[in-house]
C-alpha cells in the first residue's frame, strides 16, 4: 500500500493560527463560566460567535490546505513544550483533521444556533453555551493535536463536556446518574487508550504522529503492535459506544436534545473512528487487531439496529441507530486504507443526517412539551411541515435511499467489507435492512398514522432559529455523499493523511455504484420499510407498548447490557467495597488499636503487682537479688 506523505513542519498563513480554532471556543467557555450572571443577556450570542469564528478559521485553513499540492498537505507545527523530553504540544493540519474540524465547527455552529431557540426558556442557558463551547474546543483539540497526549487531553475533555451536558439538568437524579455512568464507562475505555499510549511510548520513544509512520511500526514485533491496536480499540469502544462499552450512550439521552445531536450523534461518539484511522499505521501492521475492529464494528451495528427496533423513546431510538451507524464506520475503519475514506465519509454524512434527525426530534419534543414517547405522537406531518420534511430527508439518507448521502458512504463500506470478507459484508447488509425497518417505524409512528397525543399537547412548528439549521443540515444530507464518494474524490483528498489503498483492496467499481451487494441491501431495506409500514403506518399503534416477544424485550432492555454490567461489575464492586472498608477498620486499624489496647491491658494488670505491702516489695527485691546473683554466677562460670 502507498504510505501517507511525510509531515511538513510549517507554520504561517491561516494554518499558522489554526490554534485559534481551539482558542476561540475555549475563551468563550472561560468568559461564560467566569463571567457569571453578568453575561446571561448576551452569553448565547457569544457562544455562537465563538463557534462560528472557529468555523471560519477551519474553512480558511481548509482552503489554504487545498491550495497546496497534495503531497505536502500535512502541516504540523509546535506550539509549546508540554512535558520536556516527551511531548511537545502542536497542531497537525491534514485532510483527515481538517475534515473533522469542518464537521465539528460546521455542524457545531448550526447546533449552537438551534440551541438559542431550544434552550430559550432555560434559566441556565448561559452555562449550556459555555459547556457547548468547551466541548467544541476539546473536540478540536482531540482532532487537531499532533500527538497522542494532546489527543488524550481532548479525548477526556470531550468526556468532561459530555458529562456536564448529559447532567445539565442535574436536579434530575436520572440525568445525574446518566452523566456519571457516561464518564465512568468512558474512563474504562480511556484506561485502555492510556495503556496503549504507554506502550507506544516505551516501544517507539515518541508520541508524535509525525514519528509513528509505517516505517517505524515496521520496527516493532507484530505482538506489540496488535497489543497497541487492541488497547487503542478499547479506548475507541468507550468513546464510540461500541460493544462492550455501549451501555452509556442510551442513558446519555437524558441530556438536552442539541447535546444528543452534537455530541452523541455527530461528533464526539465518532472520535473512536478517528482514533482508529489516525493510528492506521499500527492497525495496518497488525491484521489481528484490524479483524477485531471489524468484528466489533459489525457486532455493534447489529446490536444498535436491534435496539433501535424496539425503542419507543424517539431519542433512544435514534441513539440505537447512532450506535449502529458508528458500527458501520468502525467496520470501514477496520478495512484499512480502502475503508478509511468511506468510514470517514460516512462519519461526515452521518454527522449531517443524524444531527438533522436529532434536531428534528428535538423540534418535535419542543412541540409536544418534551414528550419523547413515539406512541404519544402520530400524524405530526400536517402540523410541523418543515420539521417533518427535513426529518424524512435525513431518514431517507440513513436508510441509504439511492443517490442520497447515506447511500454512497454506507454502500461504500458494505462493498469494501464484502470484498474484504463475505460474512462481514452480508452481516452489514442485514444491518442495513434493520435500519430500513426501525427508521421507517420511527417516521411512521411520529409523522403519520393517527394522533395519539396527550390531552394538553398543542403541537406547532418551531421558530426559524431552529428550523433554519434543520434545512441546512438536510441539504447536507442530500448532496454530501455523492460529492464525496463519486470519483473517489474524498479518497484522494484523504490520501496524504491515511495513504492510498492497493488497487487489489478496492472493490471493482460498478456502473452508478450499483453491485449485487447494493441491490441486496436495497431489497432488504425496502422490505424492512414495508414491514414497518404494515406494523406502524397502516395498522393501529397502541398508546402503551404491548409486552412484545422475547426478542422485543431483549432489545428494549438494550440487549441486557446494563443487567450484565450490574451483575458482573456493580454488585461485586459494592461487595468488594464493603469488605475493604470492613477490613480497613477492623483489620488494619483494628490491629493498631488492638496493639495499643493490649499494652494498656498489660499495664493495668501489671500494676496490680504493686500491692502496697512493703513486705512484698522486699520480696521482689530478694528475688531480684537472687536472680542477679544466679545470672552472674551463670555468666561468670560460663
Amino acid at each position: 500500500m502507498q504510505s501517507p506523505a511525510e509531515i511538513v513542519q510549517h507554520s504561517g498563513g491561516v494554518i499558522g493560527v489554526s490554534w485559534l480554532m481551539i482558542a476561540l471556543p475555549l475563551l468563550g467557555a472561560a468568559i461564560l463560566l467566569l463571567g457569571g450572571r453578568r453575561t446571561n443577556k448576551w452569553g448565547h450570542f457569544l457562544g455562537v460567535a465563538m463557534s462560528l469564528g472557529a468555523f471560519v478559521v477551519a474553512v480558511l485553513s481548509f482552503v489554504e490546505l487545498l491550495g497546496l499540492n497534495p503531497e505536502d498537505r500535512r502541516r504540523a507545527f509546535e506550539l509549546f513544550e508540554f512535558i520536556p523530553g516527551m511531548v511537545n504540544m502542536g497542531m497537525l493540519i491534514d485532510p483527515l483533521s481538517i475534515s473533522f474540524a469542518l464537521l465539528i465547527t460546521g455542524v457545531g455552529s448550526l447546533i449552537h444556533i438551534y440551541s438559542i431557540g431550544y434552550m430559550s426558556h432555560d434559566r441556565d442557558r448561559r452555562r449550556f453555551f459555555a459547556y457547548l463551547n468547551l466541548f467544541v474546543a476539546a473536540m478540536l483539540l482531540l482532532v487537531l493535536s499532533d500527538n497522542y497526549v494532546g489527543l488524550f487531553i481532548g479525548w477526556e475533555g470531550v468526556g468532561l463536556a459530555s458529562y456536564l451536558l448529559i447532567g445539565f439538568w442535574q436536579h434530575k437524579p436520572s440525568a445525574a446518574t446518566a452523566a456519571q455512568k457516561a464518564f465512568i464507562v468512558n474512563r474504562v475505555g480511556d484506561f485502555g487508550l492510556l495503556i496503549g499510549i504507554f506502550t507506544i511510548w516505551t516501544t517507539f520513544g515518541s508520541l508524535a504522529f509525525a514519528d509513528l509512520t509505517h516505517q517505524v511500526t515496521g520496527q516493532a514485533s507484530e505482538g506489540t503492535l496488535t497489543a497497541i491496536g487492541l488497547l487503542l480499540l478499547l479506548g475507541a469502544c468507550g468513546k464510540s459506544a461500541q460493544l462492550p462499552l455501549q451501555s452509556w450512550l442510551l442513558d446519555a439521552m437524558e441530556g438536552p436534545t442539541p447535546v444528543s445531536a452534537l455530541i452523541h450523534a455527530a461528533t464526539m461518539v465518532t472520535a473512536g473512528v478517528y482514533l482508529v484511522v489516525r493510528s492506521g499505521a499500527f492497525f495496518e501492521a497488525a491484521p489481528t487487531a484490524q479483524l477485531v475492529v471489524t468484528i466489533v464494528g459489525v457486532a455493534t451495528l447489529l446490536a444498535g439496529a436491534i435496539i433501535g427496533c424496539a425503542k419507543d423513546d424517539i431519542k433512544k431510538g435514534l441513539a440505537g441507530s447512532t450506535m449502529s451507524q458508528i458500527g458501520y464506520m468502525m467496520l470501514g475503519a477496520g478495512l484499512g486504507p480502502a475503508g478509511y475514506a468511506f468510514a470517514i465519509g460516512h462519519l461526515i454524512t452521518h454527522g449531517f443526517f443524524k444531527a438533522n434527525m436529532f434536531l428534528g426530534a428535538g423540534s418535535v419534543m419542543h412541540a409536544m412539551n418534551d414528550e419523547v414517547d413515539m406512541r404519544r405522537y402520530g400524524a405530526l406531518f400536517s402540523v410541523m411541515k418543515v420539521t417533518a420534511v427535513t426529518f424524512i430527508i435525513g431518514y431517507l439518507a440513513i436508510i441509504g435511499f439511492p443517490l442520497l448521502s447515506g447511500y454512497y458512504t454506507k454502500e461504500g463500506i458494505i462493498e469494501t467489507a464484502m470484498h474484504h470478507n463475505e460474512i462481514l459484508g452480508w452481516l452489514a447488509v442485514l444491518g442495513a435492512g434493520l435500519t430500513g425497518f426501525y427508521m421507517s417505524r420511527m417516521v411512521f409512528m411520529t409523522f403519520f398514522g393517527k394522533k395519539r397525543w396527550a390531552e394538553d399537547a398543542h403541537p406547532h412548528e418551531s421558530p426559524a432559529v431552529m428550523t433554519v439549521p434543520l434545512i441546512i443540515l438536510s441539504i447536507g444530507s442530500i448532496g454530501l455523499g455523492a460529492y464525496l464518494v463519486l470519483g473517489n474524490r474524498f479518497l484522494t483528498f484523504l490520501s496524504p493523511a491515511v495513504g492510498l489503498p492497493q488497487p487489489a483492496d478496492m472493490p471493482e467499481p460498478h456502473v452508478f455504484g450499483v453491485g449485487p451487494a447494493a441491490l441486496a441491501t436495497l431489497a432488504l431495506v425496502a422490505a424492512g420499510a414495508a414491514f414497518a409500514w404494515f406494523r406502524y403506518g397502516a395498522a393501529e399503534v397502541p398508546a402503551v407498548a404491548p409486552r412484545g416477544s422475547f426478542l422485543t424485550t431483549f432489545a428494549r432492555r438494550d440487549l441486557y447490557g446494563d443487567a450484565l454490567n450490574e451483575a458482573l461489575l456493580m454488585r461485586p464492586g459494592q461487595w468488594l467495597t464493603r469488605i475493604a472498608v470492613f477490613f480497613d477498620s477492623r483489620g488494619v486499624d483494628g490491629l493498631v488499636n488492638g496493639l495499643a489496647a493490649g499494652i494498656g491491658g498489660t499495664s493495668g494488670r501489671l500494676r496490680r503487682v504493686q500491692t502496697g505491702y512493703v513486705r512484698s516489695y522486699a520480696l521482689s527485691i530478694l528475688f531480684g537479688a537472687a536472680a542477679v546473683v544466679g545470672a552472674l554466677l551463670y555468666v561468670g562460670n560460663m
Binding site: R607, R608, Q610, T611, G612, Y613, V614, R615, A618, L619, L622
Partner: protein, 98 residues
C-alpha cells in the same frame, strides 16, 4: 576454719532477710535488717582474719556507727507512724499502691 564463720554470717544474713519478709511488726522487721548488717560485720571480721589485715575489723566499727544512726532514724519514723495509726504493723500501711 574461717569458713564456718562465713557460713554463720551467711545464715544470719538469710535469717535477717527472711525475717524482713515474714514479720509484720515494723520494729521486728527493722531488727531483722540490723541482723543483716551484723551478719555483714561478722563477714568483714572473718575476712579480715583471713587476709590478715585490719581493714575488716575497722569497717565493722564504721558499720556499727552507721547502724546506730539508722536505729535513731528508724525508731523516729516507726514511732511517728505508730502514733498516727496506733499500730506498728507494716501491713496496715498500704494506702500507696498500684
Amino acid at each position: 576454719m574461717t569458713t564456718h564463720y562465713l557460713v554463720l554470717s551467711a545464715l544470719l544474713f538469710a535469717i535477717g532477710g527472711v525475717g524482713v519478709l515474714v514479720r509484720r511488726n515494723a520494729i521486728v522487721v527493722f531488727m531483722c535488717v540490723e541482723l543483716m548488717l551484723n551478719a555483714c560485720n561478722l563477714a568483714f571480721v572473718t575476712f579480715a582474719r583471713q587476709h590478715g589485715n585490719l581493714d575488716g575489723q575497722l569497717i565493722a566499727f564504721f558499720v556499727m556507727v552507721v547502724a546506730a544512726a539508722e536505729v535513731v532514724i528508724g525508731l523516729a519514723i516507726i514511732v511517728m507512724i505508730f502514733r498516727t495509726r496506733r499500730s506498728a504493723s507494716v501491713d496496715n500501711a498500704n494506702l500507696l499502691k498500684y
